[in-house]
Symmetry: C3
Subunit: 316 residues, 3 copies
């Protein structure tokens, strides 16, 4: 594996999940693999889990780690070709990507969607520019349209908490006071396409996700109907995709409550965090025994570690 | 020792001071103790000495260190139970504390007093939430009401500069242009309660500290009288405790000058830094041979290192 | 070598360049030299190349590294003697410099020119205060008037791309939308004074640099004339030195274009980055085979590494 920009960059999800579960039992087993090598973590947006878990994973592999908050510690980058750079952008990605690659062996990047320009967001200009220009492996720490380290951590968590062979998995939209990107939902769907499951996406009308990602996944606008007999309820807010980045007022209460969870097959509750309590999910649900959110966060370390391990092995 | 949130978390101050002085002579003696373990330093407020000395101490013990400025690199946390999180706080401490604990073995936290809500500040909600929820050892890098790593560094410095058996120690208030917390003064008093000394607190009327911390310590409103024959003058500004967080205009000049120091028994001058020169203390005093401020700063490393060593030994 | 504040702190530029080129071939050769030692990188201004390359160089030498953004993570420092510190500056350099030195063996500092007060800028108050007060080696990561790690990286790059014995080297001013400091140009000139070359500085009238730095270097106001038969075109914007920090409107287009490069002896194009494309230099030039900008950035690692190696060896 050269880059990890998308869950499909994994050769095989199932075996990767198994390897990650193995690593978790002996997390320092490959503590010399990264010796003398350096990873740069570039944050164009804030982060808690990703920031800490990726540093932990890198340290477990013996990698040197350099963290940079690009916005506050550096400056704005220009991504357009041929532009006369006489405004507020101090450096072109053509230099920045190549320069960063002089100082590290792997670069990991967080750069969220603008939610104002669908075309630009879908071009994944930050991560794709680094892939194209830097010449070194690029890891996605959440880009405009995907969060594949989260999806891999989710797959690990589901495997560890597996109930029956072909579980019913529901991805449910939930309310949120701010307009949020589609990245986590997209990558969860991408990941589910690689699983043998009865998978349903439920959300209010107007919140349909990108059809190129949803593909043939079943969509159900009735949340309670979707929840019936589910084994996993994976919850996430996202803003509208059609009315790109908009929050559409809607009447029905989509907050995840104990009453709704009671319709399921004693389902596990999952969320990538951070989560707005009593807006996205009621206290009673996230605090219940069926909540996997802390284990999902824990698995972010092993998701990152197995990805970095594969990249390091490929670097030789 | 599980946590270090208060000087009283030390089993024995006197032996800890002796151990720290020993460590200082051979600071890399335990450089393998922290191998494969990680400490997260979470800064909710700015820092110079604490930021650098705690990293140095952790490195001396072979600990991996992850530093995070929670405000600028993360987001605001909610601490209230049962709240509907539809405002500007993105994550609840119930998740954040448990999540951070997935990525490290020890968490160290700086979170200052608001100085607007005495009850909330005294609840020490940040550090106590991490203690209650994270399940890992918590180190106080200055909380609302205490700065026990500073107090331990002060005890080390006083031991190294010990004059006579039962010294006279004066904690003196001094002026400052801003309203400051009570944390340093509180922890110094807590520490002095564990020492065999003639201890006096001096400050203008209206600046009495929390009586539950002061206890039976002698308070003298006449600064010059307090200074008479003193061996140590420990200086710090704090805002009013009764009129919580207020700065009370007062006539008398409380700045520490050479004239005032001349009343003492050739006393050592101490301050935790940062200090406002010629407001808190005259140049002539802080620049004199009797000033211990740089040695106090130096001992912050060994104060942190002995605390982390004890926590690591307890982790096994 | 105790400090590296100026290129002249090197005992011998030529041998240092050769040693750096040697290090580059085996960058982990001295990976134990810094064991148990710590470097603090203090950034009073933003940085990309310097931030990453200095961390990389330190890691290559086995140094522990602590990075601090002084402005956002710490507070403002006072540098004047005898001041009554009742305004917005929380700590005096007299304490800060000595305190930082308690936690590290080497301190490296970035502190740009104000461009508002020539006398203050030329006093190099930040770096000189640390040199005077801290008692430990100080490395210049770009100060008001110099950027000697860049100049050393440039010397390495020119050596690696050497054409003929005594090359013609042109330092050319180029336009920029903002007022920029003189540091890079100054250090390049300082470095060229140590080289056997035909060296010319070209810029519009009104942009003459400090005569104490320019000395007997040839100045040519006609850019095209200066470019004739050049082997290296080193480009940089700077604001006026006489009308200190001002941008003087001027008609002629000083942007580096392919047409201008055609007048040279197939010259290499050099710039320290970040660069404003199509303002400072046309895409066609920076994207050409003759552009050395990425190699210059790469050599920042070896420039820092050879400097830190010499300082460590001197520390013993």
């Amino acid at each position: 594996m050269k880059h990890y920009a998308h869950i499909n960059d994994l050769e095989n999800l199932e075996t990767t999940v198994q390897e990650a579960i193995g690593l978790k039992k002996n997390e320092l087993k490959f503590e010399s693999l990264g010796k003398g090598k350096t990873i740069c973590l570039l944050f164009f947006n804030n982060s808690l889990r990703t920031r800490l878990s990726t540093q932990k994973a890198a340290q477990n592999l013996g990698l040197n780690t350099i963290v940079m908050n690009f916005g506050s510690e550096g400056w704005q980058l220009e991504y357009e070709d041929g532009v006369i750079m006489n405004q507020n952008k101090s450096e072109h990605i053509k230099e920045a990507a190549k320069v960063v690659a002089q100082y590290c062996d792997i670069v990991a990047i967080r750069a969220f969607a603008s939610l104002t320009d669908k075309e630009k967001d879908e071009a994944e200009i930050v991560i794709n520019s680094f892939k194209e220009l830097s010449g070194i492996p690029v890891v996605n720490l959440e880009s405009s349209c995907g969060h594949p380290l989260q999806a891999l951590a989710d797959a690990i968590t589901m495997k560890e908490n597996a109930a029956r062979h072909k579980p019913k998995v529901v991805l449910s939209w939930a309310p949120h006071p701010k307009a949020l990107p589609h990245a986590v939902a997209n990558s969860f769907i991408d990941m589910m396409h690689l699983q043998d499951a009865d998978f349903i996406i439920t959300h209010p009308e107007g919140y349909d996700l990108n059809p190129e990602i949803v593909k043939d996944a079943k969509v159900e606008y009735d949340q309670e109907k979707a929840f019936k007999d589910a084994d996993y309820i994976y919850v996430k807010n996202w803003s509208s995709y059609q009315n790109y980045g908009q929050v559409i007022p809607q009447e029905k209460n989509w907050t995840i409550t104990a009453d709704k969870m009671a319709k399921t097959n004693n389902a596990k509750f999952m969320h990538c965090l951070p989560v707005r309590r009593n807006v996205v999910v009621a206290d009673e649900v996230i605090d219940s025994e069926n909540s996997l959110v802390i284990e999902q966060a824990n698995n972010r370390t092993y998701s990152a570690q197995i990805v970095l391990k594969k990249i390091l092995e490929n670097l030789g």
